[in-house]
Every structure is written in structure tokens, then in C-alpha cells.
């Protein structure tokens, strides 16, 4: 036996445990922990694994609903989507690893969330990625700073990593979103959402039970990679030394994961599997103690039996390794040979390494000697919970609420501005990214990326389809985290409704800075409250997700970025609605969930001048204000648009009903870049069609064209369907303004009689289509400001 390092308070501190936490460890054990035990506690009680700063607040999220089969607390959430099927889905972050090592960081982010899905018995049918990077566009003088060059490398590495893993594994990467803001330069966000499906009565859970049942290790061998990934990488701020943490990033093997998927589903089908959990963050430690804790039992494992790819590994290293593509399962005693046979067929290791006990202890043996012996419940589910102090940021921050946008004089031609907006990376086509992903494998993808507001996957064997959208706006959340978070929910739900699906459930990934900073904690609490309120009004339960704190580099926190993933259900897959205009002569309608007149959502009850000031303030936070008007670079001003959740709900209901009755030729929600951008995108997704639109608005031209107030959508309808569409809109209390027609010829927008935008669609499409590729690859930037 090796002699273990002696544990001291100082060593505990180096493991990230506070003096109080270390005292608590000693109290639970009734003695000084062994070195292995210290390691085990330090990962399980890390922020990443224990949610100790967020748990108190996450309780405020609505998680109930008749459709919910499994809420937060398992590997993933599950909802009943009809016809006997369950959808299993969850979103997770892999931010820090992706900054340190973008390719492997992003790749293992995909791998980790996929395991969470198939460990529940569901076959993954889609992945979506929500990505945030720093700016990739050269400065006005054309200079590419070191930061921008690095951001470009990060984009390239992350996209390649996602492609590498998802394509090989064989899951379509069917959607998601990408945004670029300076605040993410030192800390990109890589959030990955995976969706799987299973017969709803055949879900598997991460619970051990049955004293004497064998505990079986399956999948890849254990190495020294990823040790302390959860605690050191994911639960601490970034410093200049963080690049040295590259050895803490795991390395992904999508081929092995594909084998693991097939073997696990086949093993589950034998009926011999009692419970199963993937080894993600904190590896063998978390699987063993969490499965024991959830099942109210104990687990004893012998580490000498663990398949290892390196020699001389200590118990500490084996318990903390985050080697990928591994699972722990509990089988029914006497039927383990059935499990072994399946894994042998797929050429994978499957080894009985322990058994379920009744004493509630996680007992870790190494060559028969006890290396750790800890009450599983205390370790897994009684981690400290903190109510950290929260305080709003000082108003002197750059995010001051005054309007910063200067509008063009009335009647000014806005075509050039519009071209610049379309070439802005946040608006520009993302096809260069999604074409590197196989978004069609498994032949369920009913709307390929770029052609619909949400990813749409059919459910083979039924008439149903599932829709998924992710959304989140860090710029708005920096200005007002509560309002920004409400918009994240509303926009994702609107996206799902725009394809005709009823919003059904949501998962969230909450990306924030260091929770020990009171202003970050304030942002977090505000965002949670915003999500809770929006989900309650829109009747969308949250079934799980992930919190990513410590997104700080060199002391600077990211913009608070809650990302929402909303799942929707289409009862008839034949009624999917896409964004592209369909036929010349169709009418274009602007749907507005607000009952009031006009197209602005701001302060319906306020006086006209107040309303105008509020509208301008809101416009200051728009993508147009940021990337087109001459504001100070990188400074975000104003406030997010006010939100009317009831208006959102009305619009959602109307869109779902219109789609269900087959009344729409196309639908597209209005979000980044406003109405003009939405109209152009409807043309880009069509075959040689254009739009001619005439607006009669009381608000200023740029606000009408590029404003981003919620609860709006653009739809096109055939003339015979117009009366039907108006009737449905009226039924749901949604205003429907006929604003133009689908034509062949130049794209034109008139505002109060002035022609403000006039250009061939091909010209607009050129600005929009190549901007990302040009920027990432550092090609000459034709859309230069």
C-alpha cells in the first residue's frame, strides 16, 4: 500500500474547501479525512457539483406540470410528449474547458450531455449549441487585435470540436444560436442542449437499489485526465495561469461513446439493469455516491478492479478522474452475465467493481484496504447551501440607462445601414457554422438550420414532431437581468410557437460570474426570478439544467447570460411552419400580441412623450444601435424592451392555432435586428422571392424597422386564407396588420410614405451570407464599418 498524504487544514484550503466546510467534513466523518476522502469531498462540494450558491434560489423555478415525468435532480429532465413517448432533454455548459482547449472542451461538452440523455434510456435525436464569443470583427481601422484573433481561433476550435463529436456520434446538430459580445472575450460560453426520446414507461434512473446487486463499471478505461475538472476548472475564476490547466481538460472519444450508446440501450432492453448514471463531472465519485444516496443505500467498490489505462494510479486519482465515455450501472444479481454479453458484443469493458450495501456508506477499497468511507447521503445531497449576499451593481457602471443612440433624420434612406446590420456577426447567416455539423443524420430533421425559428425533429412511428429553440441575451441581462431573463424565456417560446409547436417544457443554463461577488449574486437572483415569472405565465415548467458560475477572467465577470432551451410539441408534423416565403402574391402580416395600436411595445399606458423616451431607451439596447449607429464602441446603453408576458402568451397561442389549422405559408418571430431583418430572412429562406412592405407607424422609422420589442411575428398567408387568419388572430386578441406582399423584384420597405429600404434580395443576401466566414477566417471584411 502506498502511504497517503496526510490531510491538514491547509491542504483542505488548497482543495477549495473553506474552514467551515472542512469542519463540516470532519464532523460528518468524526475524524480527519484521508487524502482520498478530502479529494472526494472537494469535488462533490465544489460549486459545479453541489450548486451550493444557487440551490436556494433554483427552488423558486416552477418545475411542476402534468406533462413532467422527471424534474430537476436526475441526469436529465423528462416530459410526456404524447403517443406513449417521453422527451428527455437538458442543457449544460462547458465554458472553462472550451476556453482553455476549445476543440476538446467543446467536444467533451457534447459528449457529456449526450451521456446524460442516453443514461436515461433515451436515444439522442438532436443537439443544439448556444455559443457566446468575444468580437471577431476588425476595428474601424482594420486592425485585428490579439484579442480578436484569439476570439476567431476560439470560434473555429469550438465549432470543429462540436462537429468532431456530434458528427461521429451520429446525432444531428440541428440548431442553437451564436452571439458575439466583447464581454465574452476572456470567457466564451459553450452551452450544449441534447434531446432524446424513449417510450415513457421505459425510462431509467440513476438510483442504486437491492442489497447485494452488482455495481458494474462500463465504457472507457480510467486515466489521469480531467482530474479536478469540476472543482478547479469549473469552480474558480480564470487567471493568466489558467492556460496551464489544459491537462485538466478531458479528451473526447465520440466513437467509444457511440458504442457505449448502443451497448447501454441494448443492455437496458434486457431488463437486467436496475439503475445507471454516467460518469461526468467528478467521475466515479459522483456516480457512486449519488446513485447510493438517491436509492437510500450504500455502495462498496474495489478500485483495483477498475479498468485503467495507466499504471500506478492512486485511489485519489481514480476517484477524481474525469475520463470520458464511462458509466456506472447497477444490475440485478444473477443477471449480470446478460449485461456483460452486450458490452462484450460492442467491444467495451464491463467489470463488476462492487456491490450495493444497506449501510448507506460509500466505501472505497483499494486492494482490500479502505481508502474512503463516507455517508453517501451527506456527501451527495447534504452539501453546504449558501445564501450569499447580493447587491445591485453601482449605477456608475458602463451600463447606464441613458439613451445613447442618435437617430437619422426622418426620411433618410436606411438601405446602407440595413446592409451593415445584416453583415453584423450577430445577425449574419450562421450557415458557415451549421454546415460543419451533420444536421440531418437519423433523418428526422424537418427543418434544417436557417429555415425555421426552431429545430424540428419528427418522432418516427407517430405523427408528432418536437421543436427546440435556445435563446438568451447577455446584453439585455447586463442592463436588467430580470427583464433580460424573461425575454430569454419568451423568445425561445415564441420561436417554438413560430414553427407551430406548443411550448411544453424548458431547460436552462445559467452562466454567471463569481457568486461571491454581491453584484453577481444579485444578477443571478434577478435572473432566476425573471425566468420563474415568465415560465409561470407561459405555463412552461423547467425540468432541469445547469448553473455555471465563476465565468470571470482577470477579475471581470461576463454579462449575466441565462440561456433557455424550450421544447415544443407539434401534434401533426405535416403542419411545420418555416420562415421562407412561399409564393408570389401571398400577403405579409405583422402579428402583435399587444392589444394596443402601433408596433411598439413600450409603456402602453404612459403618455406620448414618456412613451417616446422609453422607446428610445429600449432602442438603445438593440442590435442595430450597437452595430450600426455611431455609439461608442462596445458600450451598451439603454434598457431591454419592456415585456408583456400576457401579450407573449396571446401571440404564442395564436401562432400554434394558426399553424395547426394549416393557415400559414410562413412564420418568423421578430427578434434581433427587428422587423426589417425578419422580412429579409424570410426572403433569404425562399426561392427567388422578395417583399414589398409599407408601414404606417407613429414611431420613428428606425424604431419601426429595427426595434426588438417582443410579442411580434411576421407571417405570410395566401389571399384565400386571409379571412381565416384574421379571425384566429382576433380570437386570441392578437393584432394582425397587413403590411405588404410577397413579390418578385427588389426588396422594399416604405415608412409613412417614404421609401427607406430598397435593394435586390441578392445584394442583401451577399452582405448577410458570408460575414461570419470572412470574419473567422480573417478574410477581407467587405462589410467593414
Amino acid at each position: 500500500m502506498e502511504t497517503e498524504i496526510k490531510v491538514t487544514p491547509q491542504l483542505a484550503a488548497e482543495h477549495g474547501l473553506t474552514p467551515d466546510e472542512y469542519a463540516r467534513v470532519q464532523k460528518i466523518l468524526g475524524r480527519v479525512p484521508s487524502f482520498t476522502e478530502l479529494g472526494v469531498f472537494s469535488v462533490m462540494w465544489s460549486e459545479h457539483c453541489s450548486y451550493k450558491s444557487s440551490r436556494l434560489h433554483l427552488k423558486r423555478l416552477p418545475t411542476q406540470g402534468p406533462q413532467v415525468l422527471q424534474g430537476p435532480g436526475e441526469n436529465a429532465g423528462a416530459v410526456d410528449v404524447g403517443d406513449g413517448w417521453a422527451a428527455v432533454f437538458k442543457i449544460e455548459s462547458h465554458n472553462h474547458p472550451s476556453y482553455v482547449e476549445p476543440f476538446q472542451g467543446a467536444a467533451t461538452g457534447v459528449g457529456g450531455i449526450l451521456r446524460d440523455i442516453f443514461t436515461m434510456g433515451a436515444r439522442p435525436i438532436a443537439v443544439l449549441d448556444s455559443l457566446r464569443f468575444g468580437s471577431i470583427v476588425a476595428n474601424n481601422d482594420g486592425v485585428v487585435s490579439e484579442v480578436i484573433a484569439r476570439n476567431r481561433r476560439l470560434v473555429d476550435g469550438v465549432v470543429r470540436g462540436i462537429a468532431f463529436y456530434g458528427n461521429c456520434f451520429g446525432v444531428p446538430t440541428a440548431g442553437g444560436e451564436v452571439a458575439f459580445e466583447p464581454g465574452y472575450a476572456g470567457n466564451p460560453l459553450v452551452n450544449v442542449l441534447a434531446l432524446g426520446v424513449a417510450p415513457k414507461d421505459q425510462l431509467f434512473f440513476a438510483r442504486a437499489r437491492g442489497e447485494g446487486n452488482p455495481v458494474i463499471y462500463v465504457g472507457a478505461k480510467t486515466g489521469r485526465d480531467g482530474i479536478h475538472g469540476a472543482s478547479l476548472l469549473a469552480s474558480a475564476e480564470f487567471t493568466e495561469e489558467s492556460q496551464q490547466k489544459r491537462p485538466n481538460v478531458q479528451v473526447g472519444d465520440p466513437f467509444l461513446e457511440k458504442l457505449l450508446l448502443e451497448a447501454c440501450l441494448e443492455a437496458m432492453a434486457t431488463g437486467a439493469v436496475v439503475g445507471i448514471q454516467d460518469m461526468g463531472a467528478a467521475g466515479l465519485t459522483s456516480t457512486s455516491c449519488e446513485m447510493a444516496s438517491r436509492g437510500g443505500v450504500g455502495i462498496e467498490i474495489e478500485l483495483a478492479r477498475v479498468p485503467q489505462r495507466e499504471t500506478g494510479m492512486t485511489p485519489y486519482e481514480m476517484m477524481l478522474s474525469e475520463s470520458q465515455e464511462r458509466m456506472l450501472l447497477v444490475a440485478e444479481r444473477g443477471r449480470e452475465q446478460q449485461v456483460f454479453a452486450v458490452f462484450r458484443k460492442w467491444g467495451l469493458d464491463a467489470v463488476e467493481i462492487g456491490r450495493v450495501t444497506s449501510d448507506g456508506l460509500l466505501r472505497v477499497l483499494h486492494h482490500g484496504q479502505v481508502a474512503a468511507e463516507i455517508p453517501a447521503q451527506a456527501l451527495a445531497h447534504e452539501a453546504p447551501v449558501y445564501d450569499r449576499p447580493a447587491a445591485p451593481p453601482r449605477p456608475a457602471s458602463p451600463q447606464s440607462p441613458e439613451p445613447r443612440v442618435t437617430l437619422a433624420p426622418p426620411g433618410t434612406d436606411l438601405t446602407q445601414n440595413f446592409l451593415r446590420l445584416l453583415a453584423a456577426p450577430n445577425i449574419a447567416s450562421k450557415h458557415w457554422i451549421f454546415e460543419q455539423y451533420d444536421h440531418m443524420v437519423r433523418t428526422n430533421t424537418l427543418a434544417v438550420p436557417g429555415t425555421a425559428d426552431a429545430a424540428v425533429l419528427r418522432l418516427k412511428g407517430t405523427r408528432r414532431a418536437l421543436a427546440l429553440s435556445t435563446g438568451g441575451n447577455g446584453r439585455w441581462c447586463a442592463l436588467d437581468p430580470r427583464l433580460g431573463a424573461m425575454h430569454a424565456v419568451a423568445e425561445s417560446a415564441r420561436n417554438v410557437a413560430a414553427v407551430g409547436a406548443r411550448p411544453w417544457a424548458a431547460t436552462n443554463c445559467l452562466n454567471f460570474g463569481n457568486p461571491e461577488k454581491p453584484e453577481v449574486m444579485w444578477q443571478f437572483r434577478q435572473a432566476v426570478d425573471g425566468i420563474a415569472e415568465a415560465c409561470r405565465v407561459l405555463k412552461i415548467p423547467i425540468t432541469g439544467g445547469n448553473v455555471s458560475f465563476y465565468n470571470d477572467t482577470l477579475g471581470k465577470s461576463i454579462d449575466p447570460t441565462p440561456v433557455l432551451g424550450v421544447l415544443g410539441v407539434l401534434e401533426d408534423a405535416a403542419h411545420v411552419v418555416t420562415t421562407g416565403f412561399r409564393a408570389e402574391g401571398d400577403l405579409i402580416l405583422l402579428l402583435d400580441g399587444h392589444r394596443g395600436e402601433g408596433t411598439a411595445g413600450a409603456g402602453a399606458s404612459a403618455s406620448a412623450s414618456n412613451r417616446s423616451a422609453a422607446a428610445l431607451r429600449e432602442f438603445s439596447s438593440s442590435e442595430y444601435a450597437r452595430s450600426v449607429t455611431e455609439t461608442r464602441a462596445g458600450i451598451v446603453g439603454g434598457a431591454p424592451p419592456a415585456i408583456d408576458l400576457v401579450a407573449e402568451q396571446r401571440l404564442i397561442e395564436a401562432l400554434v392555432s394558426l399553424a395547426g389549422q394549416g393557415l400559414l405559408a410562413s412564420a418568423h418571430d421578430i427578434s434581433d435586428g427587428g422587423l426589417a431583418t425578419a422580412l429579409a430572412e424570410c426572403c433569404f429562406a425562399a426561392k427567388s422571392l422578395s417583399a414589398q412592405v409599407s408601414l404606417h407607424a407613429c414611431e420613428q422609422a428606425e424604431l419601426a424597422l429595427f426595434g426588438e420589442s417582443g410579442a411580434h411575428a411576421v407571417v405570410s398567408v395566401t389571399r384565400p386564407n386571409l379571412a381565416g387568419v384574421l379571425a384566429v388572430a382576433a380570437q386570441y386578441g392578437v393584432a394582425a396588420h397587413e403590411i405588404g406582399a410577397v413579390i418578385r423584384g427588389p426588396f422594399r420597405i416604405q415608412w409613412n410614405g417614404h421609401l427607406l429600404v430598397s435593394a435586390d434580395v441578392s445584394l442583401l443576401a451577399d452582405a448577410w451570407a458570408g460575414a461570419i466566414e470572412r470574419a473567422v477566417l480573417g478574410r477581407r471584411d467587405s462589410g467593414k464599418r
Binding site: C168, G170, F255, D438, V441, R442, T443, L446
Partner: protein, 236 residues
């Protein structure tokens, strides 16, 4: 008439091929495990797309040594119909059942999108239902689809009418913008000299339903079914 779909470790378009044949075209179809050497009862074999053995070595280089490939070789030699799609095409090239090789795309990136391909010969059991020169809109999804062969082989391919598909513009013309991966002479698919083995990089099984955006891939499977209907019985 029975189809077989080979499953290698890492195949991931096996289910899609099976679905297209079984559910869309209503033909009997079964999976064939890579360790099987028994192809009796099968009339046509699909070698599907995916990442056999992760494609960590050269694509298809490991899969070609699977036991099923020995059986497939025998099956092909007696005239059995074999269709290789994407990774399946790469494996058939590695196994020597088809000429040429597939290099990395010239852009060095994975590409997934609909492309247009032109039917260059209808004198194969996989294209007989198409019109000569017919343009098909079918997705590709690969990182190594850049077809190459030596000059002599290219001359042979042309002389023997073995070039089955070429990448093209929507109107059927050949211009460099419509060649997505840099393939030699726009080649998207070739058949064996005996015409019973065909490989192509595009995925016809992803283009068999209007809901998925194209039905142009049906012509490949309909040709196959017609060819099998002409055959008296299983060949092996």
C-alpha cells in the same frame, strides 16, 4: 427480395438506410453485424454511412478488415448488388471493390448540405430508373469526399462508363462552385467494372421523403428494386 444493411462499430446511417428501405419503400430489410460472414438470403447489401471505427485512421481502413467484408467480397464477385453510401463508399474503395480513394475535402472541413448531382450513366442497377443527365438534389455530409484516382484509372472509368454521378449546378452544368469537396472530374459516385457495386458520397437515403426536403434519392432505390425484380433469386 431482401436487403441487408451492414452495421460496423460506428456506423450511424444504418438506421436511416433501413428506414428508407423498410418504412418508405416497404421492402424486407435486416441489419448484418460486422462479424457475420453469412450473407445467405440477402439479395442486395447496403454499406451505410457513418464513422466506422471512428474514422480515426484513414476512413474505411479498419472496417475493410471486418469478417463481413470477406463475405461481401464473395457476394460481389458472383454479381450480388452492393451499394456503398458515404463511409460505405470509402470502405468499398479501401476493400478494392471500387476504384479510387476519398481524400479530405479541399476546404478541410466537414460539409453538410444539399448538393446537386447529375446521373452520368443509367446503365447500372442503381440508376436504371433515372433519365440520362437527370439532376438530383441530395445531401452530402462528409469531411473526406474528395475523390481521386490515377490518370489511367480515370481513363478506364470513362471508357467503361463507370462514373455514375457528378456534382453539378442546379441546371446540370459543371462549374467549380458546384464541386463541394474538390473531387477529381466532379466525381460523386462510381460503379465497378461489372456494374454491380456502386459507391457515392451523397446520401440518397436522406432524400426519400418530401418532408425531409427532397425525394430525389428514391430513384437509386427504385432502380435497385427493379433490378432485383428482374433477378430470379438470391445470388448467394
Amino acid at each position: 427480395m431482401k436487403f441487408g444493411v451492414v452495421v460496423f462499430p460506428g456506423s450511424n446511417c444504418d438506421h436511416d438506410a433501413r428506414y428508407a428501405i423498410g418504412e418508405v419503400l416497404h421492402q424486407p430489410v435486416d441489419f448484418i453485424w460486422h462479424q457475420s460472414e453469412d450473407l445467405s438470403g440477402f439479395d442486395a447489401i447496403i454499406v451505410p454511412g457513418g464513422f466506422s471505427y471512428g474514422d480515426y485512421l484513414r476512413t474505411g481502413a479498419i472496417a475493410r478488415f471486418s469478417p463481413v467484408m470477406r463475405a461481401l467480397d464473395r457476394f460481389a464477385r458472383v454479381g450480388g448488388l452492393v451499394l456503398g453510401i458515404c463511409n460505405g463508399f470509402q470502405i468499398l474503395c479501401e476493400a478494392g471493390l471500387l476504384p479510387g480513394a476519398l481524400l479530405r475535402n479541399t476546404g478541410l472541413r466537414f460539409i453538410c448540405r444539399h448538393v446537386h448531382i447529375r446521373v452520368e450513366t443509367t446503365a447500372t442497377p442503381f440508376t436504371s430508373a433515372a433519365r440520362p443527365g437527370q439532376v438530383l438534389r441530395i445531401p452530402i455530409a462528409h469531411a473526406e469526399g474528395n475523390f481521386v484516382c490515377d490518370a489511367t484509372t480515370l481513363v478506364d472509368l470513362k471508357r467503361n462508363d463507370q462514373i455514375a454521378f457528378r456534382y453539378c449546378a442546379p441546371d446540370g452544368s459543371l462549374d467549380s462552385l458546384s464541386n463541394p469537396n474538390g473531387s477529381l472530374d466532379f466525381i460523386a459516385g462510381v460503379c465497378s467494372r461489372e456494374r454491380n457495386v456502386l459507391g457515392l458520397m451523397p446520401h440518397p437515403e436522406r432524400a426519400v421523403e418530401a418532408a425531409l426536403g427532397s425525394t430525389d434519392g428514391l430513384v437509386v432505390f427504385r432502380s435497385l428494386i427493379a433490378a432485383l425484380a428482374r433477378q430470379p433469386a438470391a445470388v448467394s
